[in-house]
């Protein structure tokens, strides 16, 4: 459509045509200026700063690709990338499986109760990460928290959770998943509701059991939404920061020092602005790679 108009415009540049273009640009101007200022220019600056040694105060010192060479052999950085990947695997699988299970469960009940339970599961999503961190710091308190009281009923000894390097990352992933399960089950439920009932009835006549129904009808119908949920949760978990800052500050013993937290400390605590920009670009590349691999594995959600 627009190319056709363009061709016509080339030959008959009328006053009206110019006016129409101008009006469109005026309507777009505030947002375009904003996006350029907030995204495109900073992207350019980030690239330039990453080629410099700079503490934000003294003049920049151009060092070419040296920051990138440094990060390649920065074991702390790769440690934090590793932690981020472990976090992503725990978090994404937890959110994906549980929200799909809950959506299937919600889809099997009807009427007002479905809507009510959906709302209940969704409540944690609306609460800010900071308040959620408070709630779970309280719940997971090693000596007096409710979770340890609960475990005690089953004879499980008190755990130190966020104070234990082996448990802290899992606790943060669990808490974050807890807040998002309701959100993603709404997305899954919306798609499940669109699957025609006839499919299930036909398969039941052929003697299919519940598992077979899920495997051969439900799951294939979810392909697009699967890709959406996996990609969005993966990208989000690569950027986890708020809850780490509030709950553990990267500790204990660096066990939750995720990539964005490492970038943040380099930029705002050590004032290595050039280096942290290089790290951020590296994270971007890793994230991008992960998304591409995910798209390849899931074949972009196309149905065969």
């Amino acid at each position: 459509m627009s190319s056709k108009c363009f061709a016509r415009g080339k030959f008959f540049i009328t006053k009206k045509r110019v006016g129409k273009n101008l009006f469109a640009y005026l309507m777009l101007a505030p947002d375009i200026i904003g996006l350029v200022l907030i995204f495109f220019i900073p992207m350019g600056i980030a690239l330039y700063v990453s080629l410099n040694e700079w503490n934000g105060i003294s003049p920049m010192n151009f060092i070419g690709l040296k920051n990138y060479a440094t990060l390649m052999s920065d074991s702390l950085w790769w440690h934090s990338v590793g932690i981020t990947i472990v976090y992503t695997l725990i978090f994404v699988s937890m959110v994906y499986c549980l929200s799909l299970l809950i959506a299937v469960f919600l889809n099997s009940i009807t009427g007002k109760i479905q809507g009510f339970l959906r709302t209940v599961y969704f409540v944690p999503f609306t609460i800010s990460t900071i308040v959620l961190s408070i709630i779970w710091l309280f719940m997971l308190d090693p000596r007096r928290g409710l979770v340890n009281k609960f475990l005690h009923i089953f004879g499980i000894p008190a755990q130190s959770f966020l104070g234990n390097p082996k448990q802290a990352l899992f606790c943060i992933a669990f808490m974050t998943a807890w807040t998002l399960i309701g959100y993603y089950s709404i997305i899954f439920l919306a798609v499940l509701k669109d699957i025609p009932v006839i499919y299930y009835e036909a398969a039941k006549l052929d003697g299919a059991n519940t598992f077979q129904l899920f495997k051969s009808i439900t799951f294939p119908m979810l392909k697009e939404v699967n890709v959406f949920v996996l990609i969005v949760t993966t990208i989000a978990s690569f950027q986890v920061f708020d809850q780490v800052k509030v709950m553990t500050s990267g500790g204990p013993a660096g066990a939750t020092n995720v990539a964005v937290f490492y970038i943040y400390t380099n930029a705002f605590d050590y004032l290595k602005l050039g280096y942290s920009s290089a790290l951020a670009f590296m994270l971007f590349i890793i994230m991008f790679g992960f998304s591409i691999v995910l798209l390849k594995i899931t074949k972009g959600g196309e149905r065969e």
């Binding site: 627009s2 108009c5 273009n21 009006f23 309507m27 777009l28 505030p30 947002d31 375009i32 904003g34 996006l35 995204f39 220019i41 900073p42 992207m43 600056i45 700063v49 919600l106 009940i109 109760i113 339970l117 969704f122 409540v123 944690p124 609306t126 609460i127 800010s128 900071i130 308040v131 961190s133 408070i134 709630i135 779970w136 710091l137 309280f138 719940m139 308190d141 007096r144 409710l146 009281k149 959100y183 997305i187 959406f228 949920v229 950027q239 920061f241 708020d242 800052k245 509030v246 964005v260 970038i263 943040y264 930029a267 602005l273 942290s276 951020a280 670009f281 994270l283 971007f284 994230m287």
Partner: protein, 276 residues
């Protein structure tokens, strides 16, 4: 006889299912209930973990209000409201241009807008800080508000919505001598109430809950937002838990109210983000 038995079994199964659903619901609600109930316990009794407090005390609230929390509340309210209103105005204009106007370079502009969704915030964190510092916006509300406004997601959803409005309306208005801007204001905006409410709720909640950027931009205490103040409050040693909990309750009140009034729109918004 056999059919009746099966039916009864099915009913029992259904009840068990709903019971399971409610127990699962407790798993989501108990932690939040603990926040509410702990905020009205006296400092010494917070960790008795009773579901019904033995004694009710508002000392947490009075302590937190003495820490200037009302000020932070108003700061958060001002910032979130401003961002929401300005963003809705800008995004609806841009969405209208992309959906309904033919202009040179429309597809290129649209793709460039969408491409910003790919950029992670951590990459632009440092340069954005440098820019904001250059403009002299550190420790100002401007420094939080302006970077929060441009967002491809809002533009995209407005565009998708405007695409569904029938062309005949536009044509009729043009014949009646309505200008393109008049069509936008008098025809498109009134028709887009559902999307406006949905996005308004989404923007408000996102900005109210935002922590990282306000923390980095506003170091001076009187410009803090609630999330930053609360996070700072946790970090200090010796802070009584009932006061922290009271701060948490104050922080979530506006969102909980919004949630219960506009729940339908929130759910619609989520479905839109997932499917379209």
């Amino acid at each position: 006889m056999k059919g009746n038995f099966k039916n009864k079994n099915g009913q029992i199964l259904y009840c068990v299912k709903i019971l399971g659903g409610i127990i699962l619901g407790c798993f989501f609600l108990i932690p939040i209930y603990m926040l509410l109930v702990s905020s009205i316990k006296p400092t010494g009794e917070v960790f008795d973990l009773r579901f019904i407090p033995k004694t009710i005390s508002l000392s947490g609230y009075s302590l937190i209000l003495k820490q200037n929390f009302l000020r932070y509340f108003l700061n958060s309210l001002f910032i979130s409201t401003t961002v929401t209103i300005v963003a809705l105005a800008f995004h609806s204009m841009a969405g209208y241009a992309l959906a309904r106007l033919n202009f040179v370079g429309r597809n290129v502009v649209f793709i460039l807008i969408l491409s910003t969704l790919m950029i992670p915030f951590s990459v632009i964190l440092v340069p954005l800080f440098i820019l904001v510092k250059k403009f002299g916006w550190l420790n100002t509300f401007k420094g939080i508000i302006i970077p929060a406004i441009p967002h491809a997601y809002g533009i995209f959803l407005f565009r998708q919505f405007f695409l569904t409005i029938p062309k005949e309306l536009e044509e009729a208005a043009t014949i009646d001598g309505c200008s393109p801007f008049g069509i936008f204001i008098r025809i498109f905006l009134p028709l887009s109430k559902p999307i406006i409410i949905t996005l308004a709720v989404a923007f408000f909640i996102a900005n109210w809950n935002n922590y990282m950027w306000p923390m980095i931009v506003n170091q001076s205490q009187d410009k803090w937002v609630l999330q930053v103040a609360l996070a700072n409050y946790i970090g200090r040693t010796g802070t009584p838990w009932d006061a922290i909990m009271a701060g948490g309750v104050i922080t979530i009140i506006p969102i909980v109210i919004l949630f219960f009034i506009l729940q339908r729109y929130i759910v619609e918004g989520i479905k839109m983000s997932g499917i379209k």
